[in-house]
């Protein structure tokens, strides 16, 4: 499974959305209704799943699923 597929699965599980609604361009807030707390939960789930530490500054710039994928890849 590539990073996008893994991130997609976690986004679907955490936000309770449909798999078909998740692309690299999907905006977490505007398209999936994520708020600030969901964003924190998403970061924690990614940290657990990929065994990485996501710095707080980096997590504040995330807008799309693609941003999540790039962030994870840069830390792997």
């Amino acid at each position: 499974m590539n990073t996008f597929d893994s991130v997609k699965a976690l986004v679907v599980e955490t936000l309770g959305c449909e798999e078909n609604d998740v692309t690299l361009e999907t905006n977490l807030k505007d398209d999936l209704g994520a708020d600030s707390l969901t964003a924190v939960e998403m970061i924690m789930v990614l940290e657990d799943e990929f065994d990485i530490m996501i710095p707080e500054e980096a997590s504040r710039d995330i807008e799309t699923v693609g941003d999540l994928v790039n962030l994870v890849q840069s830390l792997l």
Partner: protein, 331 residues
């Protein structure tokens, strides 16, 4: 820190009591005070209304909660040897709320009475302290109270905090037990940035340059960071506790978590792998009452018949300090 209760020295809750102000403030009422909305508050926190003291004081509520707990326990006031109040909103720096309760309840002068400041973890810290102290006394009863008037330290122009908190008191009477388990786990991560409330001392000290600096004694916090701390520490603390107790998360009948935010509780439940139905929640009507939330929850659970003899309980608090702590016990 892990404290392993000796098998012969568990703790039993004999009675519970609570008191919340009559004055309920809804999200709609807050909409007229700060730029917020019912939808914003309820979707992020699960809170729809909270009780705000309007004439009640920390002492009047704590006294009422304590009297109900003592009555439910069926003991005499003179049997109480230890009084511990967890609060960060006592009217005085001294005397403590615990000492004032000694007077108001007419307790023996020989009681050991002092307050505990561990913010939202205060009640579980106090319960553990009571458990330790009772082992040094002649094995009588301890009165453990969580009581707050948080509306005193709210900045009602800060929409990120003033919508979250409520006022109230909860109390329990406990006694050492031969049959009941008691295990405690706690932690502290000193931090004055994520969550703080400065103390206000008005001073006319002529020998220091700093003392006239006036600070507003309002609680401030970074909600996202607190959310993260809470979810991580609840999981860490409860997992360590259950491992010590050799009990699996599914065997716990009731998780009574500090009622800060329903989203924190739901996320923590998911990460613990425990069914959400086992997590009591009254946040919708109570808001976050800090140290009072767990004993208020216990009293509401008892009086609504949710607690059965032998039920396994996990109590877990987290908050300012930063602090966290969890207790494993049975009803």
């Amino acid at each position: 820190m892990i404290y392993r209760g000796d098998p012969l020295t568990g703790l039993k809750i004999l009675g519970t009591g609570s008191c919340v102000p009559n004055h309920s403030v809804t999200n709609q009422m807050l909409e007229t005070v700060v730029d917020t909305s019912d939808d914003w508050i309820s979707s992020r926190t699960g809170i729809r209304s909270r009780c705000i003291a309007n004439g009640d004081t920390n002492l009047t509520m704590a006294k009422a909660a304590a009297e109900r707990a003592i009555e439910a326990a069926g003991i005499k006031n003179s049997d109480i040897e230890v009084v511990l109040c967890a609060t960060i909103t006592n009217e005085y720096v001294t005397p403590s709320l615990s000492c004032l309760l000694q007077r108001e309840l007419g307790l023996n002068e020989e009681v050991l009475a002092f307050d505990i400041n561990a913010a939202c973890s205060g009640f579980v810290y106090a319960l553990n302290t009571a458990h330790s102290l009772l082992q040094k006394t002649s094995n009588k009863y301890a009165l453990v109270v969580g009581s707050e008037v948080l509306s005193k330290i709210m900045d009602f122009t800060d929409r990120n905090t003033c919508v979250l908190f409520g006022d109230g008191s909860g109390a329990v009477v406990v006694k050492l037990s031969r049959r009941m388990p008691f295990l405690f786990n706690s932690g502290a991560r000193g931090d004055n940035l994520v969550l703080n409330c400065p103390a206000i001392y008005e001073s006319n000290n002529p020998f220091s340059q700093n003392t006239n600096e006036k600070k507003a004694g309002f609680l401030q916090m970074d909600g996202s960071e607190v959310f993260r701390f809470a979810v991580e520490s609840i999981k860490k603390s409860i997992m360590a506790l259950l491992e010590k107790a050799q009990v699996s998360p599914e065997e716990i009948d009731h998780y009574v978590l500090h009622q800060a935010n329903s989203r924190i509780i739901c996320t923590a439940a998911k990460r613990l792998g425990a069914p959400i139905e086992r997590f009591f929640m009254n946040i919708e009507k109570r808001g976050n009452t800090s140290a009072a939330s767990i004993p208020i929850a216990l009293d509401e659970m008892r009086t609504s018949g949710r607690l059965k003899r032998g039920d396994k309980l996990v109590l877990s608090g987290f908050g300012g300090g930063l602090t966290y702590g969890s207790v494993y016990m049975a009803w």
